[in-house]
């Protein structure tokens, strides 16, 4: 399987601020790749660099085997891109904006665009200004898909959409991936992304802190609830990488990676531990755990520094 997108040690600075710091990842062909991160983490900057809309200060990027730095226009011609916070020309009609965009793409764009519009049940002759937010999102998606791109890049595509439209939208991504096309999306809607993504990259403050297949990530990550006998005695050493640990009285919630079932059994036998309970872990929990700054390393001897704030219960768990 070839990589459709490749970032190699990419660094981008805006003045004194570093937006991306030596970020490297690759998106394999046919994948639905989710780029996750907080606001201002650098997701949009990474996408802009990929599309040739911004220059990287260091490193290399390639999309569809084309260098982003020099072939931005060609990349955007072959890629479908739904930018964040973009709006459509209010004064155009739905079919007009498709006709307008068709001028920039190869033959056949407008026919496909119209089919998509019909499939999305958006009236062709209606003005953009008269469309609802969901319909506008569908038009934006139709514009991005009109040329049947090999790669679709979506930057916060479901932001502001209601649940039904969001579900339709994301399901169309799955359909797309099923046809062998690649989708790269960045989103805050973690649990929605979880439905469709098969690869995940997490960026925090410009640094890539995780990138792997979603199922592998979830398989390798456990959420344990430890009930301890004595609050004053230090917890035992965890064999994996603790992403997050939260204390609630005698109970300790731990999100941990790289811990085997045998190691969990050993932990349950520890004299301090009264009981260990395992929960299915969701992508949102993993994401939140990664975003905690003190969630790495061994918790031994650091109970006083652990997070004591209550953590929201996972909603619905892993599907």
């Amino acid at each position: 399987m070839t990589d459709v997108v490749r970032l190699d040690n990419v660094t981008k600075r805006f003045g004194r601020q570093t937006a991306l710091r030596r970020v490297s990842f690759a998106v394999p062909e046919g994948a639905v790749f989710a780029l996750l991160g907080e606001n201002g983490a650098g997701k949009t900057t990474a996408i802009r660099i990929l599309l040739g809309l911004a220059d990287a200060d260091e490193g290399k990027t390639e999309v569809l085997a084309l260098p982003s730095a020099t072939a931005g226009t060609e990349i955007r011609r072959r890629v479908g891109y739904v930018p964040e916070e973009s709006d459509l020309y209010d004064w155009m009609r739905v079919d007009e904006i498709g006709w307008f965009a068709a001028g920039f793409y190869p033959e056949g764009y407008f026919d496909r665009y119209q089919k998509l519009i019909d499939a999305f049940h958006v009236p062709r002759d209606r003005k953009i200004s008269a469309l609802s937010k969901g319909m506008r999102a569908k038009v934006r998606l139709a514009i991005a898909l009109g040329h049947d791109p090999e790669l679709l890049i979506l930057d916060e595509p479901t932001s502001g959409l209601d649940a039904i439209v969001r579900r339709e939208f994301l399901e169309s991504m799955v359909d797309r991936a099923a046809t062998g096309r690649t989708v790269l999306l960045s989103s805050h809607q973690i649990h929605e992304v979880e439905r469709v993504a098969d690869h995940v990259a997490i960026i925090r403050e410009g640094e890539l802190i995780a990138v792997e297949r979603l199922d592998a990530m979830k398989e390798d990550t456990r959420r344990l609830t430890l009930t301890v006998k004595d609050l004053t005695t230090p917890l035992p050493e965890f064999s994996g990488r603790v992403l997050r640990m939260v204390e609630r009285g005698r109970q300790v919630d731990v999100v941990i990676r790289g811990m085997s079932d045998a190691e969990v059994a050993v932990l349950a036998e520890h004299p301090v531990v009264e009981a260990v309970e395992q929960h299915p872990v969701s992508l949102e929990e993993i994401f939140v755990a990664y975003m905690q700054r003190n969630g790495t390393g061994s918790p031994a001897g650091k109970r006083a520094e652990s997070v004591t704030a209550p953590v929201a219960e996972p909603q619905g768990g892993t599907p």
Binding site: G15, R48, D55, R76, V82, S86, Y89, W91, F100, A101
Partner: protein, 872 residues
Amino acid sequence: MNATILRRLVWKEYRTTVALWLAMVGLCFFLQLAVVTQSRVFLPTPMSPEDFAPGLYGIALFVTALYALACSGMQYALEHENKTFGLLRSLPLSVREVAVAKTGWAILTTAALAPVLGGMAFLFTGGAGLSASDARHASVAFGIAVSQGLAWGTFFSLLSSRPMVAILRAGAAVTVCLVTVSAYFDHTRYPIPLFLLIFAVVAAVDVWLALRWFEHWKVGRKRLQIVETLSDGLGGSWAMPFRSRRGEFVGLCLHHMRQSSAILGLCALIVLVWFVGRLLVVTEVLPKWSEWYGFAALSIMLGAIVYPSLAFHADQRQRGYRFLSHHGVTPRKAWWSRQLVWGTFYLLLTGLLLLSLVMGAPLRGVSLEEVWNELFTRPDERQGGFTFIVFWVLAYACGALVSILLRSGILAVALGATLTVVLLSLCSFFGWYIGWAPVWLIPLGLLVASRLHAADWLAERRNWRSRLRWITPAVAPLVFLLAVTPYLRIHQIPYVSDPGFSPSRLESQTYSPEGVARLAELVAIAGLPRETIVVDEPGDDPEGKKTEQILSDNAVKRLVAFTADWPKPSPCHEGRWMDSWAYLAETPAGRLHPGPFSLVVDLIRSFGNTMRHYEATGRPREALDCRIAISRLGMGMGSPDFGQNPLANVRRSARGPGMTPELLKEAISRLDELAPDRLDYAMGLKLWYLVTHRDIADDDYFFMDIGERPTARVLLPILYPWERTRGLRRLRYELRQALDRLELFADSCADPNTPSLDLVWDFPPVDTRFNDWFEQFLLGTGVSAPLLNREVLAIREFEVARRRAQAELAVEAWRLEHDGKLPESLDQLVGVYLKRRPVNPVTKRPFRLEPIPAELGGEYMITSQETVVRSK
């Protein structure tokens, strides 16, 4: 570069800017129309279409330059304001293609606008063009303004996300650049290389920024933050709205203050530049600044329109008004707080302008009282002050309405400007037509409309009821004024049931054979052969010679005989005018000749030449006959004007060889026949002529001032049908007045004990408001009616001249009998040459003989003045 891509981009730019382009065409049209129509109000004498040419072409070029600035200023920033920048960037476009399309389109449409607006000026001026020097001057100034506008507009558009702010910044930059650079150069030699250098530098920066627009616009924008911070400083971040319910109104005011500060700062900058420039011009520190005085003044006029057009803009952008509605702000508070802030700032801006005018006047040696009188108390009703006050209020009201209706700031400004110009023309029309008081209904209606729309604006209601709520108060005053104007116009003239004549009755009568015979006689006299003589008269001819036609002795005899019993006593009051040859003008006999009037004018001219020839060749008696006959002929055709001049120089004819006292006595008695009791006859003829020639007057005078434009011939009678009714009503009224005055005058002349006749003329005057502008060129009846009073005045003056002429002839007769000595007074002549001592019929003072000392040239004068002012 892909042609298909460029075509699509150009199509998008076309759709984005076509409204602005058309708005500029509309703005220019109404500005030019306003100049043409308003100049008729403000200028004492009508201007010919050619005189408008520099002004109208100047407007065309100015609006084109304004479009260049606005188009280039909005093209990049608009993508950010509409949030379409992301979409544009997501498409497979190179920024070079976008820049080429945008800049190319701005240049192309500017180039297309110039000939359209120039063509409009061409039509307004009736095909007149600019002189070669004006054209050269204008083309250079236009080129500089357009190039600077394009360069600076693009520059600020690339660095801004708000088109309106970008345009204002660019406008300020262009103004400052043009004014400061031009301040140091003579207008006859523009600093073209310097302007080219500025253009090249700014354009190079534009190119650099444009090629990085997709990537770096936010980074570049940071460099403007210091400017934004400064311009926002007026509002200050201390404006904390909605802190408490009690302080909500104050909070709202502070909120608006902060919103308006950027725009206010830029407007204030432009005003300040103009203000300082004006002071420097009037103090002659920098007289060359006056070159841009008109440009700057026009900028300020537009600024006064632009500023209020953005009153609601800050909350219109990205539906910021939802912030207000979500915080439970009532429409009343939202509207009034905004008016308080924007209105105050607007007053500050305009106050600064007023201050510059007030300060400038004394510096130029004009007192403030003179300025006041010129603006508000001119007797000719061309009081421009009212128009300017209406302009300021109207601009604000239009701006308040369009800015609450439209979310686009650019369109709001364009529409606000156009609406202001259109409504100002209408206000001016109504102001001069029916008075200024009702005009205030129009801006008031607009303000009420914006207030009523505030609730629908916050609630985002867009149904027909909400539209009706603002349309009704906005349009109602206009409809009311348009409906009431014809009624008021007609009823400004008192209705007269009996004007003293009846044209229809006259037209039903048959003409008399005697009248036909008299006209035939006149035609026959005119057809007699004439002589051509050469006279010494220095004038246009460098040799001091000119040729004149004189009548033969036979023709003179027949003319004198023709006028001997004419005009006959035939008071017009009774409508017995059938003996008048003038009536024959409308008969088949009259049509045999080009027209009795031209016939008589031609005869009088030759008759006058003959009279002077007789005087020069020592035939005083014939000359005197000619004088009296000419007077009779003039009176007979209904115009004493023709008869007055011969009597003024009667003394010259009385001194020739062969003149005897008896002949002079005879002349005096013949002049008695032209006494006032006969003058009304001439007046009647004149009135009748005007009535029966109404159609001719319509054709001849109606279009006299507006030229030979076929559209005017068709449109004006359709647009103002009531004026014909009013004109006829006025004719009846003026006629009745004239006849009454004439009768009083005749009675007064018959009664020497009447103290003064001045009171006779104190009839209530017709309301002639707007006549100068409108009636004189619109309706023939409007032209003819004022002539009636002039006619009465002419009759009065003729009577004074006739009595003085009789006194002079009596003095000359005395001198003939007393070896050239003058009588001691006119009393010595009474009973011998005069029936009674002559009295001035107007002042009621007796004429007296006033000898003129030899050192002042000698001779004497007949006067009724108590003291005679003499000078060397």
